[in-house]
């Protein structure tokens, strides 16, 4: 058993809201659509509970890309979506300061049956982090 993420496939973390995006991810499975095995879904009530440091910590630990899949404006919690969006904006600032590509953290809205949108987001993030990894290997 070893930890860390050196020399392996890039890893994508999907924070998926219990009310919308998580069932959306389930729906993608129900229609048997395929996507990369690098994408890991973690269920959350609302991503608004994560502070800025949480995201930075994830990158430090070795997560390559994070998709915050929210309910968007359909969020059942008052003010939570707008707050999350603002916070992601601030994390982007902090990422810039650290020289991290801000595209590695993305917020989007996925509904309970939004399989197409879900697949599109995952595919785009897989491509991005794979390119970045290839570039890093090539450059080192």
């Amino acid at each position: 058993m070893t930890a860390g993420n050196s020399g392996r496939k890039p890893m994508i973390l999907i924070l998926a809201t219990e009310a919308c995006a998580y069932p959306g991810a389930d729906n993608t499975g129900q229609i048997h659509a395929e996507y990369s095995t690098n994408a890991y879904v973690v269920r959350v009530p609302a991503p608004v509970q994560f502070n800025e440091e949480f995201y930075l910590r994830c990158f430090d630990k070795g997560i390559d890309g994070i998709l915050v899949m929210t309910c968007g404006h359909e969020c059942p919690y008052a003010g939570a979506y707008d707050r999350t969006a603002q916070r992601i904006g601030r994390v982007h600032e902090l990422m810039k300061e650290r020289g991290l590509d801000t595209r590695r953290l993305r917020i989007c809205a996925i509904c309970t049956v939004c399989s197409k949108a879900y697949l599109k987001e995952v595919k785009a993030m897989v491509e991005l982090v794979s390119q970045e990894q290839a570039a890093a290997v090539g450059g080192s």
Partner: protein, 635 residues
């Protein structure tokens, strides 16, 4: 089971003797055809605190459940992880297993290996197996930090306040009363019935709306458990599920009103003259009173969309009217008993234009200065317009009717028959493109109105249709209830209707505990759908209040008083009144305290707490961190 203080920050995982059992499901072959189950079980056995790792063909079957139950007893397990299908299917099943085996049900964690692994990774079995192991690892990591939780039990007043006395509110009130709950029905107008009272014969039953409503109002007003307050306005709302406290200002009598048959008939008859009717005066003066209720049902309905001046010529000629105005004319005999005429002007031809104020498109409908577009479909207007056309045809066989639409959405049971009937009896249909709505011009000739469009049904032929009357088929907009939204912190969707927690899983509940929604305040619905939603809300309220107390899932914020510095950052951040507040502790310090009845568990507070003192039970930050660490471990 009591809470172990040493675990409060999750540090307890190693201190307490954590014993995790991991169970991997084949799901027939649904999981095992792609994921190498044996490898997952082997890896799980090496994970920290795991004392048993096993597999079964169907973990949810009786033998699967018994296997866990037995292990909990013999292996003294105190945490259980099941890698199987989505938690939406069997989370409750497995929590039940833990309860039966005598441990706290919230010490269970699921790893979703079917919907999120095997079914989406058929082409990559090696990757799928690796992913399954990591997800099980994350579930074990979270399980180690789980703590026993108890459902939140709240005292509940066995009364429901129903806001809105339209069809939905009336139906809901009556169902609630029949389920032995007390009901206060609040209506802001002086009369009951809502918009349905403005209609004549309604589809699909062809019964007069007045008859349907009259019957309902009679039953509601005669029921001893229902108190009706008309001309009533909610001016203050506080409290939470179980004990909401509403301050209401109402005109007239405050006690139960049993409406006489004469009053009901007079009220309903007056409604045919317009949305405000010639209303009944309930008596002079206003009174304020407080209502305590265990739950609230919002049934505040809709308003008709009012076109802006000049939108399809609206208000530029008396012959350009909306569908509700046409229905009123039909109902009050305004078109006459001989050849049809409106305000003395003969009407030989009518053109209906669909989707006015509904299904609007950016870049097309925002041209005339509109800021808020209604992207949604109002659903009832297609059938309602055709229904009106059918009635016109029956009354005035010589009338020529044109129907201009971008689609016809006669979606409901029996609606398509109405479409067919009108088509067979001579209504002429023309279709315009989404992006090219028809133009209405006022001309000097007779008939004085001209509808111009490219007709898709005749291969985009440009046509000009002269008519005597243009009927704008307007849809619904949510009724303005800003004060209620503010006071109760009600979430609204992008289209401004009230938002349920989940359209399929919790269709009549709002995220604010104890507040239910039904009818057209949630979305455009016809009366059949509104009544169904009303009954659903009544059943939901009765199920929750029937026991005399309410039980809620324990996933709400909790403050670790030892860590709290009393900065009040959480109090300022929280959007729910009184969900978290600062209280004086015995030592004189001010600390945050959560009211579990109000807290909705969104965790907004957790993100801003400088010391991490406030966290959502079951979804703590340390649990998430542990899960992410575990995802990165290679087994």
């Amino acid at each position: 089971m009591t809470e172990d203080k040493s675990q409060h920050n999750g540090e307890g995982a190693d201190a307490e003797n954590i014993r995790v059992g991991v169970y991997i499901c084949h799901c027939g072959g649904n999981i095992s055809d792609t994921v190498e189950i044996e490898r997952v079980v082997e890896a799980a056995a090496k994970m920290p605190s795991v004392v048993v790792a096993r597999r079964n063909m169907f973990m949810c079957s009786d033998p699967g459940q018994s296997m866990i139950e037995e292990d909990i007893r013999t292996e003294r397990l105190n945490r259980v992880v099941v890698g199987a299908c989505s938690p939406s299917l069997h989370e409750l099943t497995f929590r039940g297993v833990l309860t039966r085996a005598g441990i706290n049900p919230y010490l269970f964690e699921n790893a979703n290996l079917r919907e999120q692994v095997s079914w989406v990774s058929k082409g990559d079995p090696t990757g799928a197996t690796d992913k399954a192991i990591r997800l099980v690892g994350a579930a074990v990591a979270k399980a180690r930090l789980l703590r026993p939780l108890e459902p939140i039990r709240l005292e509940a007043t066995p009364r429901v306040v129903v806001i809105g006395g339209g069809l939905t509110g009336l139906r809901c009130a009556l169902d609630l009363a029949r389920l032995d709950l007390d009901v206060t029905l609040l209506e802001e107008q002086p009369f009951l019935g809502g918009h349905l009272a403005e209609l004549g014969q309604v589809y699909p039953s062809d019964k007069p709306a007045r008859e349907i409503l009259g019957e309902l109002i009679r039953e509601v007003s005669a029921h001893p458990r229902i108190c009706i307050l008309t001309s009533a306005e909610v001016i203050e709302a506080s409290g939470c599920v179980g004990t909401f406290l509403l301050k209401v200002r109402a005109a007239g009598e405050m006690e139960t009103q049993c409406f006489s048959a004469e009053r009901i008939a007079a009220d309903l008859a007056s409604r045919a003259h317009g949305p405000n009717g010639d209303h009944h005066n309930d008596g002079a003066g206003t009174t304020e009173l407080e209502i305590q209720a265990g739950m609230a049902v919002l049934a505040t309905g809709f308003d008709h969309y009012t076109p802006s001046q000049g939108e399809y010529g609206y208000e530029e000629h008396p012959g350009i009217i909306t569908l509700p105005a046409l229905i009123r004319e039909l109902e009050s005999g305004g078109l006459g008993s001989g050849p049809p005429a409106l305000n003395g002007r003969p009407i030989n031809s009518i053109g209906f234009i669909h989707c006015v104020g509904s299904r609007e498109l950016d870049g097309v409908h925002d041209q005339n200065g509109k800021t808020e577009l209604n992207h949604y479909c109002s659903r009832v207007c297609c059938t309602s317009a055709l229904w009106a056309a059918k009635q016109l045809q029956a009354r005035y066989p010589d009338l020529q009717i044109y129907d201009f639409h971008k689609d016809i959405r006669t979606y409901g049971h029996g609606h398509e028959d109405i479409y067919e009937d009108t088509a067979k009896s001579g209504v002429i249909f023309c279709r315009f493109a989404d992006t090219a709505p028809p133009k209405v011009t006022v001309t000097e000739s007779d008939p004085p109105l001209m509808i111009s469009l490219k007709d898709e049904l005749t291969f985009n032929e440009e046509i000009d249709v002269p008519v005597d009357l243009v009927v704008l088929v307007t849809g619904m907009v949510p009724h303005a209830i800003d004060n209620l939204v503010d006071m109760l912190k009600l979430p609204r969707s992008a289209d401004r209707f009230l938002q349920e927690v989940h359209p399929k899983l919790r269709p009549v509940e709002m995220a604010v505990n104890g507040v239910l929604i039904a009818g057209c305040c949630q979305a455009p619905l016809d009366s059949v759908e509104s009544a169904a939603a009303a009954s659903a809300a009544a059943a939901k309220a009765a199920a929750l209040l029937g026991k005399g107390y309410i039980e809620r899932e324990p996933f709400v914020a909790r403050v670790d008083q030892a860590l709290c510095n009393g900065t009040s950052a959480c109090v300022e951040e929280c959007k729910y009144n009184q969900a978290v507040s600062l209280v004086e502790t015995a030592g004189g310090a001010r600390k945050a305290q959560v009211n579990a009845a109000i807290c909705c568990g969104c965790g907004m507070c957790a993100a801003v707490c400088p010391t991490g003192a406030i966290q959502v039970d079951g979804w703590r930050l340390d649990q998430f961190d542990a899960m992410i660490d575990a995802l990165l471990v290679n087994y």
